[in-house]
Each structure stands twice: as C-alpha cells, then as structure tokens.
Amino acid sequence: MATQNPPAKRVKREEYRRSVQAQQESNDGSLIKMPQKKFFRQRAHANPFSDHRLEYPTSPAHMDWSSHYPAFVDPDTSKTNLSGGRKLTKEVEVVDIGCGFGGLMVGLAPLLPDTLMVGMEIRTSVLEYLSSRIHALRNQQQRLKKAANQSSTEPQDASTKAESTESSPAPVPANDDEIGTEKLFPGNFENITAIRSNTMKFLPNFFGHHQLSKIFICFPDPHFKARKHKARIISESLNSEYAFVLRPGGLLYTITDVEEYHHWVLRHFLHGEQPEGGAAPAASSKDLFERVSEEELALDPCVRVMKFETEESKKVTRNKGNKYVAVFRRKADPEWPA
C-alpha cells in the first residue's frame, strides 16, 4: 500500500496541509473547511524519553494562554504573566493527556462551556490536525451565530443546551470531520485548545499546584512489552505528579481497551488486598487517590463522552473490543508525620 508510491502520497499530504494552513491564515471571514484526518495520520507511538524539539514554558506563570483562548482573554490589558502575555479571566482546569485527534475535547466542549480545557499530544501531525479542527469549528460557529442573528432576533437557546450533542448525531455518525458544522454549540468551542507536549516530562511546567479539576488519560499507548513498561503514562511515580497538579476532589479518568493495562492502572492507583493481620501497606502515591464508584460514574456525562466519542473508542466499538474505565478521586494530602 504505502510502499507502492510513498512520495506521491507525501506530496499530496503536504499540499493539503499547506492549503489548510493558508486557509486559516487568511482572516477574511470566509468559511474554513474542516480538515480531513486522513492527511494527518501518524504512527501511534512516540518515545517519551527523547528530547524531541518541544516548546514549553519555564513555569506555569510563564505560560501564555491568550492565543489559545482569545474569547477568555482578560480585557484589562495591564494584566500580564511573566512572559508578557495577556492573562485570562480564568485558569485552565481540564487536561486530556494524549488527546490524539481531539474527539474527547470536541465532545466535552459543549458539556463544560465555561471550563477551559486543553488537549496535550506529543505527535506533531495529529496536533496540527486538532489545531486546524478547533480553528475551523470556531469559525463555523461564528458564521452560524451571525446567520442566526440575521434570520431572527430570537435567541437560539434551544440548540445551546447541553443535551443538544445527543439530540441529532444521526446525520454525521461516521465522520467526525463534520461535527459542529450545522448547529450552534454552547461555548462555541472557544474553551478548548491543543498543545504539543510531553506531559511525562513537562506537565508541571504548564499547571500549578492543585490547578486542575479533571485529567483524562484515554486509550494510552499500552507499551505491551514488559521492557517498555517504564514508558507507560501511568505509574506510581507519575501519579505523584498528577496529584500535584490535581486539586483535592479532582478526578483522573482512565479508559483502555487492554485488560492487562486496566489491571496495571488499578494496581498503580490502589493498594492491593493486604494479607490479614499483615502490616499496613507502605506509604505511596496510592494514598492520594480513591476509586470513584460505578454508580457515580453512571451519572457523569464525561464518562459517556470518553467511552463513545473519542476516535479511539469508536475504533474499539467498530472492532467489537472491550472498554475498561477507571476513575480516581484526588484525596487531600496526608498530615505531616509528627
């Protein structure tokens, strides 16, 4: 397939991506088309230990979010951060680690229209797609808004309710590239963005102590070989970092289609069964999390988005695979030992 004529394919890709770029840069208010995923596919693995060529802020106080959330920039121009960028009216609170093509971000955006969310992805092509997609979504929402205002003075409240995402998935079930083109969504996708990063190294460069209320880790790279398990994005030592950026009461969502990985997740977040009469388990980052009950998850709309609206979850559904969900609540830090 790819071996037959790779240069032609690559040329086509580059041409397409250049045209997407050009279209976005021309700020003339014309319709921006949704990017097509097929031109942005990339190998599903990246080495988290290598340096890549990453840009990351020196500290959370240096992070300039203003270009990512133009609708949330503080109107007071005197408020700037350490790198001179404009401050926002609120802080980023939700992170999707390894957001891929952004299905979760796009699905969550109308559910939490007033919450700033960011997807983080290490693969450049995939990130480029998502950035273009968000840009196009915002553009189309603005056009729809304008059209709605012109056609009638009545507010389009009916379509801006949270349930609206569920109401009519029928016309575009197979192609995410078209979601968000025909009607208005709450928040108009102004509350989501995507950033290239290696969160295993640089998550604390972006977010301060207890800043986040939700972290999503959806269908992480399973790193099947035992030798590669150190590269897994969930481990007791990384969980300490998630606990640092997650506020007490905040939630960390995980979903995977690999049963073994699911058990790995449970093992690294929860103390195992202790032998009767045995010593208490050694203190570890497991003390900082507790599992959220099934009943509670059934009421959480984020779980539904995670299970059915991400690209990976759709693929698993198509292949009739299993999905394993585990959500953990951040507990308060333990008291200092006396």
Binding site: A46, T58, A61, H62, P222, F224, S240, A243, V258, Y261
Partner: protein, 494 residues
C-alpha cells in the same frame, strides 16, 4: 612523585570528635577508597586491598609500595580475588560476584559518610552501592554490596543517616536501609506464565496480528521453562520518579519554627531543568513544590547547613539561582563568568566557620566550581539571603571536589592531577599534588601549608600506567568530566 597519579574524585572530612575519636579524611581516587589520619596525613587504609586480604598488617605498608611498581593489571587481579571472598558474604547475586573477577569498576564517583563510622560509595561500572565500616583505626571493611538497576548520579542519606537515598540515570529515587535489617526475605518472583497483554481485540493490523501469534507461541514455550525474573534482591523502595535523567538529590531537614514542627524534604534535580521538592520519607510521594527558573540542565544543589531555607542551584546555565525553595521564589540570579552554552557548574559547597582569632565574625561561605576550571569562586551568604562574590581562588589544576575542615578554619580542595588547568582533555606530562588547602585570614582565603596535606600529597594516589592509549585517556576524561553530555543538542524530531 613520579609518573601520573589519579586525582581525588570524592573527598570527605569525617569529624569524630564527638565520639572521642580522631578525625579521618576519606577520599576516592581511581578505583580505590582511601582513609587518612586527619592530623598527620598518615594513610590508614586503602580499599580494595592491593595485596592479599589475609595479610592485614601489611596493608598500610603495601599501599605506598604499590605506587612505585606493579602493573595495574596485576593489582586488579589480586584485589579482585579479595573482592570475591568479601562478596561471597554479601548479598550480591552470584551472577555479580562472577562478574567481579574481571575489572568491575574503574572509579568511585559517589561517596557519603554515615554516623562517622560507615562509608557509603557507589562503584561506577558495576552500579553497586557498597557500605563499608570505618573503625577506630580508620580501617575499611566492606559490610554490604547492593547492585542497582541503573547507574547512580546521586547518593545521600536521610536526615537520621539510617537510610540511603539514591538517584539514578533513569530518574528513579530509591531508599534502603544503611544496614540491611536481615528480616528481608528475598522476593521469589511469582512463577507466573507469561501471557501477552495484547489480544486480537486490541491489535488489528496484519503485522501486529502476526507478532501476536508469535508471542502466543512464545508464551506456550515459556510455560515449560519460566524465565528468571531480574529484581533488586534486597529490601528497597522506589519513592520518587522523574521521566528524565536525575542529576542531583539532596535531603534537607528544616528545623521547627513557630508554626510547624521539624520537617524533612527531598530535593531532586533533572536534566529537564526541573528542581522538585518532595516531602521526606515516608511521604516522598507528596510533591510540595517545583522550583522553575533554569533553562538548561541542573547539576548542583546546595542547601547551606547554616541557612536551610535557602537553596543555591546551578547547572548548564551561566548563572546561579538563589531560592526560597519552599515558596518557589527566586531571591537572586547570580551571573557566572563564561558565556551562555559553555558554563557548567560542577559543584556548590557551603562551609561555615565559627569566629576565630583571625576572623571576628562567623563565616558563611559558598564555594562554586565550574567544570574544567582551575578557579574557585568564593561567595558569602548575607543576612538577606543573597550571596555576594568576595574573591576568586586560583588553584594548580581544575577543581574537582571540596570539603571544609571547620576545626581548622580551612578548606581542602581536590584538584585534577592529570589534565592541564582549564582543559578537560589536554594532559599534563607529570602529576601535580592532588590536594590544596586554604585558610581564611582577614577576609581572604590564602594557601597554607598543612602537614596532613603535605604527607598525603607526598604519597600520592594509585598511579596510572605510563603508556596510555588515546581511548583510555578519553575514558578517564569522560569519567571525571561528564556534565557537558547533559546539554541538549538540537536536531532530533519526529
């Protein structure tokens, strides 16, 4: 002193006055660990023993003899036999003691001292943490040898000095008791058949399915012949992990103040510019703070004993940062000589001197050495917790290591005996004395004659073979000057 001698790589002054014993200086050079009487400079012991371990009386005589003669190959062979005997007693795995019959290490880059009577070292190539007893007479006896999964970049102790803390090149921090409790039962790897984590529900492409089939076949085979599991076969705990090369690890105790009691912390630094502040054991999984401000790797952390609220950090940036580390607050940015992209901080040391006849006030000194530099920068910590440059000390060779001798109001500096000043690769034709000492008088540090240092310098350390190939020289350079490898190189990307 003819020929080339190894420089001292680690240096530690062991104050044993409180225990009613005389002070001792311990140091590593080449593959050996030495102990010296701190008043006379008399060499008390060298480890591993260069001659047969059974002839213990001879050890002090044998050591100086070894410098004038004896090809190193032969010495190594002899010492490794004594090594083997010792190791048979230790907990090291049989596989490792076999390995030690060949040259298992060429240098000892890390050393710390516990309770004034235990020396903890890491031998380089075999990644082994060895605890040695240091007795009243300064004799060294290996008590345990524990092999780590990765080479260590930092080795220290918890504030009570009962547990060892190690930081390795994989970013992991382990803790284990200084003296193994003996209660530890070796973990028998559960004999569990290997099962591929992937299934035909999770992999779909033709190639992945093929390799899954392969794995299934492998699993069926391994059921009859379970593979031996590699584990750290001693009592240990993984307490902190960075996804980066860990460069430095220190353990700090903050005394109780009006609001909180005494608290201990672990500070770790990595190649990705981070300084992390975690709680001390057993709550090291709680991260309290990150100190952001460096734009290149961090290689040195120093929390002065006289002001534990303050941290001085340095690395690949051409500046030092002075912190209120618990608040992630930069108190001062101190420019270093040298241009961006070339300056590397090799070490930061704090030395406190009580008021003496020569110096009316107590001295809170901070010394900073740059990699491959023969100058030692002298700063003092001021009352507002900033540091002020006072002086620059010129040494006869590159500064490698420093230790303060409070009782004499002096510092002892290990200098590079092999390489020319301000070079990390050009060699000298003959060795220079490995130690220099300075004393503070009326605000200036001046070189002084110290009978201990004269004696140690006259004996030298283990000698190098007279003919060294380029490759061996490079290896020796790399073992002493490896910090510049931490610098990130532009280039690789997806």
């Amino acid at each position: 002193m003819a020929g080339l001698h190894h420089p001292f790589q680690c240096l530690r002054y062991v104050n044993r006055q409180s225990a009613g014993q005389s002070d001792i200086l311990v140091a590593t050079a080449g593959r050996n660990l030495y102990s010296y009487d701190a008043s006379s400079g008399q060499r008390l012991d060298v480890w591993p023993q260069p001659v047969d371990a059974n002839v213990e009386d001879k050890s002090s005589d044998a050591a100086p003899a070894s410098e004038s003669q004896g090809p190193p190959e032969k010495r190594r062979k002899l010492s490794s036999t004594s090594e083997e005997q010792k190791d048979a007693k230790s907990e090291s795995k049989p596989k490792d003691s076999n390995k030690e019959t060949s040259n298992s290490w060429t240098n000892i880059p890390l050393l710390t001292v516990a309770h004034g009577k235990y020396v903890v070292i890491m031998t380089s190539e075999d990644k082994c943490v060895r605890v040695l007893g240091l007795d009243n007479e300064g004799k060294l006896q290996q008590l345990s040898a524990r092999t780590m999964p990765k080479k260590l970049s930092a080795l220290t102790l918890t504030p009570d000095e009962d547990n060892i803390l190690t930081g390795d090149k994989f970013g992991d921090v382990y803790t284990f008791p200084l003296i193994p409790s003996g209660e530890y039962v070796q973990v028998q790897a559960p004999v569990k058949a290997y099962e591929p984590a992937a299934t035909n529900l999770t992999v779909h492409t033709k190639r992945n399915l093929e390799s899954l089939e392969q794995q299934m076949r492998q699993a069926a085979l391994s059921k009859t012949n379970p593979a031996e599991r590699v584990a750290l076969n001693f009592e240990h705990r993984l307490i902190i992990g960075h996804v980066s090369l860990l460069t430095e690890l220190i353990s700090v105790s903050r005394p109780a103040d009006s609001t909180v009691g005494k608290r201990s912390y672990i500070l770790t630094a990595d190649r990705d510019e981070h300084i992390r502040v975690s709680r001390g054991v057993p709550q090291a999984h709680v991260i309290e703070q990150f100190c952001f401000g460096h734009t290149s790797f961090v290689s040195s952390l120093c929390v002065p004993s006289f002001e534990p609220k303050v941290l001085i950090s340095g690395g690949g940036d051409n500046y030092l940062l002075v912190w209120d580390w618990l608040q992630n607050q930069i108190l001062q940015k101190v420019q270093l000589p040298g241009s961006e992209g070339e300056t590397t901080v090799r070490g930061i040391w704090d030395v406190s001197l009580a008021p003496t006849t020569g110096n009316a006030d107590s001295v809170k000194a901070i010394f900073v050495a740059l990699e491959g530099s023969s100058q030692l920068l002298y700063y003092t910590l001021e009352s507002d917790n900033t540091i002020t440059r006072q002086d620059t000390l010129q040494l006869s060779g590159n500064v490698l290591e420093l230790t303060g001798i409070d009782s004499r109001g002096s510092i002892l500096v290990a200098v590079d005996t092999l390489r020319q000043s301000d070079s990390t690769s050009a060699w000298k034709s003959s060795s220079q004395p490995p130690l220099e000492t300075f004393q503070l008088s009326s605000g200036k540090w001046a070189p002084v004659e110290d009978s201990m240092v004269i004696k140690i310098n006259s004996e030298g350390t283990s000698s190098l073979p007279t003919t060294l190939e380029e490759k061996q020289r490079k290896e020796l350079n790399d073992s002493l000057y490896n910090l510049s490898n931490l610098r990130k190189r532009a280039g690789y990307d997806e």
